[in-house]
Amino acid sequence: MSELLIKNGYIFDPISGIKGDKADIAIKDGKIVDKVSSKAQVIDASGKTVMSGGVDIHTHVSGPKVNTGRMMRPEDKFFRGSYRGGIIKQGKRMEMGFSIPSTYKTGYAYARMGYTFTNEAAMPPLLAPHVHEEFRDTPILDQAAMPVFGNNWFCFEYIKNKELENNAAYVAWLLNATKGIGIKVVNPGGTEAWAWGENCTTINDPVPYFDITPAEIVKGLIETNEYLGLPHSVHIHGNNLGNPGNYKDTLDTLRLAESYKAKNKFGREQVLHNTHIQFHSYKGTSWADFESGAKEIMDYVNANKNITCDIGQVTLDETTTMTADGPFEYHLNQLNHIKWANVDVELETGSGVVPYIYDKNIKVCGIQWAIGLELALYAKDLMRVHITTDHPNAGPFTRYPCVIKWLMSEKARKETLDTMKWKDKVIAASNIASMDRELGLYEIAMMTRAGPAKALGLAAIYGSLVKGADGNVAIYNLDANDLPSDPELIEAAFQNTAYTIKEGVVVVKDGEIIAEPHKYTLWTKVNMPENAQVMHDIKEKFTKNYTVNLENYAVFDEHVHNPRAIELDVA
C-alpha cells in the first residue's frame, strides 16, 4: 500500500482540462486516485509545474537499426558522450552516447526530462526479439514498438486482392507474434523497390513486381486498422521524404485519409498519424530554391480532424539518421558521403543508417529548423500536433527541452536565428521571423503527453492525471504564474525535473536518478477467430521464402519483458 501526495503544484492536464490550477495529485498503488490517507508520503510542489509523465509518440530508441548506429559510430561516444560533461554515474549502469545513447542512458535521460513512456517507431518483425531484448535493458520507461507493414509481402498481396479480412487477420497475427502495438508504414512500396535499387517517390509509383501503388497500400492499411479498431491509427512516414517539393506528395498522402472515420474504443479520433512532418513539408525544385511548405501542410492538417502529426524538429546537432526508408538513406549518403549502413529485411522491410550534421551555417539546415517550428506555431489544435525530433533523425530526444524553449519563446528563436550564417536566406525561405506566437505550458502539455497519449489510444493509462491513470508525474521547477524571462531557464527546467514519478515511485529527484522500478512492454492483443486461409499463407511463405522457421519467428514469452496487453475483440 504505497501512497503519495503531490501538494500545491500548478497542474496542467489537458485530458481533464486543468489549466494551471493549484491542486493536489494523489497516487495509491501506482494509480492516480481522488485521495490518500494521512500516512501518504508528501511532495511539496508549491511554485512548481505538475504534468503527467511525458509520452513520446515516435522515437527510435530500441532495436536493430538503432543499434547499428551505436555500433558503427564510436565517435558518438568519444566526442559527445555526456561523461565529458561530468555526469557521475547516477543509476545502476553507466550512460554512454549522444545521438544514439545506450539503452541505459535512454531510460535515465527520458526519466530526467519527465518522460515515462516511449513508442519505438519502427520494429522490423523478423528482428522483433532484438527490440524486446533492448526493452529489458532500458530502465524505468514503459515501452511499445510498432512493427512495419508498408513493404510487407503479405499485405501487398491481400490489399491488391482486396482481401481486407485476411489482411486484418494477418496484422493481428503479426502484432501478437512480435508483441507490437500498431501499424507503422515507412515509404510504402519504396523500400521494397529499394531491394532492387529503386524507389517509389509518389503515391502512384507502382511497386516493382507486386503491381500495387503506395496509395493502395496506405488506404488498405487504414481500412485494416479501422476494421480491427486498434488503439493507435496507421502511423505513416510517407513517400519522397526529405526532397524539395515533397509537400505535394505529403498532401497526396494525407488526402488518402479523407473518406475514413476512426472506429475504436480507445478515444482515438484520427485515422492517420503523419510522423516527422517537417521532413515532408518542403517546397522548391532543388536545394538551391528550397523553401518551407509548412503553411500549406498545416492548413490541411488544421482543417482535417482525422489527422494527427508530430513535428520532427531539427535541433541543429550532429546526429545519426536511421529509417526503414532504405532508398532515402542511400540518397542522403549520396549527398554527404559519410558512412552508410543498410539492412534489407526479407519479405518485410529494409533500413539505412547515415550520420548527419545539421550545421546552422548551412542554409538548408536552417530552413529545416524553421519549418519544424513553423508547423507547430501554425497549428490550431495542439492535441493533434506533437513534439518529436524523430529521434535521432532530426536530433536527439535529449533536445526536447530546447525545442520547448523555441516554441515558448520568440526571443529564443531569434537568438538561434541570429547565429546562422545564412540567416537572411532562412528568413526569406520561411515565415519563422515574422511569427510571434509563444506557446504556454498547457499547450506544451498537449504536445508532449496528452495529445500523443490520445493519438496512441492510451489516454486512459498515460499522458493524463485523471483517476485511474498510471501514477506517472513530472514536476518541473517552473512557477507557472511567473515564468522566467530568460528562455534558457525554461530549457533547464524541462531538462531535469524536480521529481519524476513512475507509478507512484520517485525515480528522479532534483535531476538525479534515484530508483529503477519495474517497467512494462505494451502491446496490442487482438482476439479474433483464427483465419485458416491466412495461416495457410503464412506457413507457405515460411516454408518457401523465410530463412527462419515459423515456430521460431514469434517472440517467445520468456523474451518479452513484463508484458502489458491492450486487448480488443474482433468478431
Binding site: M71, R93, H130, V343, N545, T547
Partner: protein, 443 residues
Amino acid sequence: MPKVIENVGCPYCGCSCDDVRITVSDDGKDILEVENVCAIGTEIFKHGCSKDRIRLPRMRQPDGSMKDISYEEAIDWTARHLLKAKKPLMYGFGSTNCEGQAAAARVMEIAGGMLDNCATICHGPSFLAIFDNGYPSCTLGEVKNRADVIVYWGSNPAHAHPRHMSRYSIFPRGFFTGKGQKKRTVIVIDPRFTDTANVADYHLQVKQGHDYELFNAFRMVIHGHGKDLPDEVAGIKKETILEVAEIMKNARFGTTFFGMGLTHTDGRNHNIDIAISLTRDLNKISKWTIMAMRGHYNIAGPGVVWSWTFGFPYCLDLTKQNHAHMNPGETSSVDMAMRDEVDMFINIGTDAAAHFPIPAVKQLKKHPWVTIDPSINMASEISDLHIPVCICGVDVGGIVYRMDNVPIQFRKVIEPPEGVMDDETLLNKIADRMEELKAKGEA
C-alpha cells in the same frame, strides 16, 4: 516414448540454422538422434548428453591437481579475485547466449575491467572498417530470394559454414530465384582452390596477400577506367577482371560474403574497407550488399549486446566504471596480454589457450585464470578454476544473433546435468556477490 523436438537451433557456426530435429530419450536426458545438421553440429549435440560432462567447478590445488568444489565457493573465489584485480579481462562469448553476454557486461562494469570477444582475433578488422565506411548489408533471406550473383571472398563455407550455400546463397530456390543455382553466378576469390571454389562459376586465384589490389582493380572498372588496368593484377588476368566486373555490374542483386581470408591477411581492415567501397560503387548501377561470415553461432551477439549497453562492439575498457572506452591495440585482448597488463583472466565460451599466440597465453597464465565453459579444453586445463555451465542450444535456450544480425531464439532440448548453471545465472551470481562484498566493505 522418445520425443521429437523440431525447430531447434544449432550451436555451431554463424549460419545459426534453426531447423534441427532432435530425438530425445524418455527421461529427457539423452539425445538419440540429430537430423538436418552438418557433421560438426551433430557432434555438439552428442557431446551435450555425454556422460563425461563436468558437473562441478574444479579448483587447481598446490600440487597441480584439480579438486571439485561447490558453485558457491567458485562464485565467491571469482568475485573476490575480480574485485582484487586492477585490470581483469573477460574474453570469449562465441558460444554463449545473449542473456549471458548481458550478464557479463554487468559483471565487468562492477569489477571495473576489460571485456572483449572473439571478434578481437576474427572479425575485429571488419568492425574497424565499418566504423570508417558503414555496412550496406541485408538479411540472408534477401540473398536467398533475390540474389543472382554471389561472391565468396576469402571465405570457405564448404568447410567453415557447411550449410551456408544450401540454406542461404547458392542453391536455395527463393521467391525471385525459382531456378536456384542454375540462375546464379558464383564467384569465389581465394588463393586456394577450396571446395567452395569447386562449385563456383569463376574462381579467381588471387595472389596471397594481394586482395586489396584486386578490389582496387574492380573499383577502377566500375568507375570506368577498366582500359587502364595493367595486364595482370594480384595474379588475375585483365580480361578476367573485366569479365567478372561486368557480371557484378549487371547483377540484379549481388552479395559479397567475406571471411578471415580478408580480415587476417595483409591489409586486414583496409581489405574490408575497400570491399565496402566497392559495394557502395556497385549500388550506383545495380543493387549490392555485403556480409561478414561470422564464425560462431552467436559471435555476432556480444557485438550487438555490448553496442546497446556501452556503444562499442568489442575491446571494451570498463575500468573507469562510469564510462566505457574502446581502442583496439590498446584495449584488445592479445595486445594487452602481450604487454602483461592483465592481472586476471576469465575465458568464457571459447578457448583462448588454443587460439591466442603462445606468448600471450604465457603472460595471462601468470595471473589467476578462470575458465567458464561446458567442456574440457586447453583453457580449462591450464586454469586455476574451471566452472562448467550449460550448453546454449542444448541444455539452455536463449537468443543468439546469426551472421546477418537476425536474432534466433534457441531452445533447450535436454535437461542439464544436475546442478549445472547456465552462463546468465552464474554471471549474475558473481555480480551479486561482488555487490555484496562491496557493500560489506570487503573489497
